[in-house]
């Protein structure tokens, strides 16, 4: 007898089995199964963590720092974070009560949503966005309410669209600017308008600032630091992108004590604490990592300019992203949908890009191209895209 026939039906929780399978998974598997792919599909820095940070982590292991930490995380790290957030984001937090260290910003978002949502509460977020937002809201028994950002509006979140999405069940708004996958950012004026809406409707704001340091033009203060926002905003951040520390898995949340305490309740019974080695590495990143971070950012800046200009030269319209490390070209000129484009480009030129359907339901016109890869790979990959488009034009 087949074992699976004896398994009880409905053993997977309904809200989990209801989660749609990521359509992009098959494409990712295809890319991973191929050799010699030139990939613009990677959502993490190509730099290894700066050596000074790695060396600190190695040294901590040699000294035997391998224990649990406080549930909230090392106090010395929380103190460094609160100093950093005050300078970089414009808001003061108490390291003892208003800051929690998490396993990446992903855990911080999960904790925040689980701490806030009563079943049926609506959470507004913007699409296109990082793949986890909708599913994490559902896993917390909330109702995801996506607001679509448009290319014609530079993929910025139009405050009036947010207002239109609010109902009496709306509990919170999730923001992620600079944005994965579009690279778009918000102006200070837009942040102020969104803050006014949050205050008017008594909403919580979760602001995922993971790409904040990778802003290439002038950077404005966080929405958390605007008048009236401190007590209704959770600032979520981490070390993965700016300090190239993805594998260390260290994030954090700063916010009002009652929200941080509620997050801590979940964290202490599930994760217990973030790994100590990553926390010690993060302290070094904040104390001495800025120069390395600025060097990486300068390299991303050069690559951003190159990749965006090349896409436009090739005839694929691409706006200049203000932040993060993604270009988001419109591929309508190819006559293909984004998934067709990605599959054909992979087969014909061995160049991997991510169709925007991974990030929103209507992502048929765009692809996401990461420039967190070497300039040499970017140049060769763009040469492949150029040949591909020349063949498409010759056909049409």
């Amino acid at each position: 007898m087949n074992d699976s026939q004896s398994l009880p039906k409905g053993r997977i929780a309904q809200h989990i089995s209801d989660l749609p399978k990521s359509g992009i998974r098959d494409f990712f598997e295809l890319v991973l199964s191929m050799d010699d792919v030139m990939s613009l599909g990677v959502g993490e820095p190509d730099f290894a963590t700066p050596w000074g940070i790695r060396e600190t982590a190695i040294s901590a292991l040699e000294k035997g720092h391998t224990s649990y930490t406080s549930n909230l995380g090392l106090l010395s790290l929380r103190e460094e974070i609160c100093k950093y957030v005050e300078v970089e984001f414009g808001e003061e937090y108490n390291p003892e009560k208003e800051c929690i260290i998490t396993v990446g910003v992903s855990e911080a978002l999960d904790l925040a949503l689980r701490a806030l949502i009563n079943p049926g509460d609506e959470i507004i977020y913007h699409e296109p966005c990082y793949v986890s937002y909708g599913p994490v809201i559902k896993m917390a028994h909330g109702v995801p309410v996506p607001v679509i950002t448009e290319e014609s509006e530079n993929f910025q979140l139009h405050p009036e669209k947010v207002r239109a999405a609010i109902t009496d069940k709306t509990k919170a708004i999730v923001l992620n600017f600079p944005n994965n996958p579009t690279g778009a950012n918000l102006t200070l004026e837009q942040k102020k308008e969104l803050a006014a809406i949050a205050i008017e409707y008594n909403l919580i704001v979760l602001t995922d600032e993971i790409y904040a340091e990778l802003t290439y033009d002038e950077r404005s203060i966080s929405i958390a630091a605007l008048p009236g926002m401190r007590d209704r905003t959770l600032l979520l951040h981490g070390f993965s992108k700016a300090y190239a520390m993805t594998g260390f898995r260290v994030g954090f949340a700063c916010g009002p004590a009652d929200l941080v305490d509620a997050m801590m309740k979940i964290h202490q019974y599930t994760m217990l604490c973030a790994p100590i080695n990553g926390q010690e590495a993060a302290i070094e990143a904040l104390r001495n990592g800025r120069k390395d971070m600025e060097l990486m950012k300068a390299e991303y800046y050069r690559r951003r300019n190159y990749i965006v200009n090349r896409f436009n030269q090739i005839g694929l319209k691409c706006r200049m992203p203000e932040g993060a490390f993604y270009a988001y070209p419109n591929i309508e000129a190819s006559g293909l949908t984004s998934e067709e484009f990605a599959h054909k480009l992979l087969r014909e030129e061995k160049v991997a890009v991510v169709p925007a359907t991974a990030f929103c339901t209507n992502g048929h016109k765009h692809i996401r191209c990461s420039y967190a890869t070497s300039m040499d790979t970017i140049q060769k990959a763009l040469d492949g895209v150029e040949r591909f488009m020349e063949r498409r034009k010759a056909k049409n």
Binding site: I24, F28, G41, V42, E44, D46, A298, R302, V354, A358
Partner: protein, 164 residues
Amino acid sequence: MTKESKELILSTIQKNARINLSDLAIQLNLPEAEVEAFITKCEKDKTIQGYYTLIKPEALEGRSVRALISVSVQPENETGFDHIARKLSKFTEVTDVQLMSGNYDLLLTVVGASLHEVADFIATKLAPMNGISHHSTHFMLKKYKEAGFQLEDKDDYERLSVTP
């Protein structure tokens, strides 16, 4: 052109002098003509002192042996260390001459085809020179990093080729 743009041009070509002008202009989001004009100006006023290619020492037969030589000298009236430093820098065997703080005055890099050739230079040219009071030679055994480039093969650790 802003100070930041100028520094970006210089730091980019310091890492890759062979980058073509149009790629450089695109990467920095600057007009090609402006970039070209700035580089020409820097070449003229010697802000850019030259272009150098990093090559494995063993790939060039005549220059595979290198020595760092610390030299103590008697400074001269009026010219100080400059006169002797300039004299030393005229030898083709000498690739670098630097005035240093500390226990000695000048640090030279000397290259040759063999240990014998470098030793011969020291014995016949350097040691007898007037004004040199002491020198100490350190033959280079292996170089791990030069001008910001790691010279050994990189680890072949690879990231996943696609992630969200």
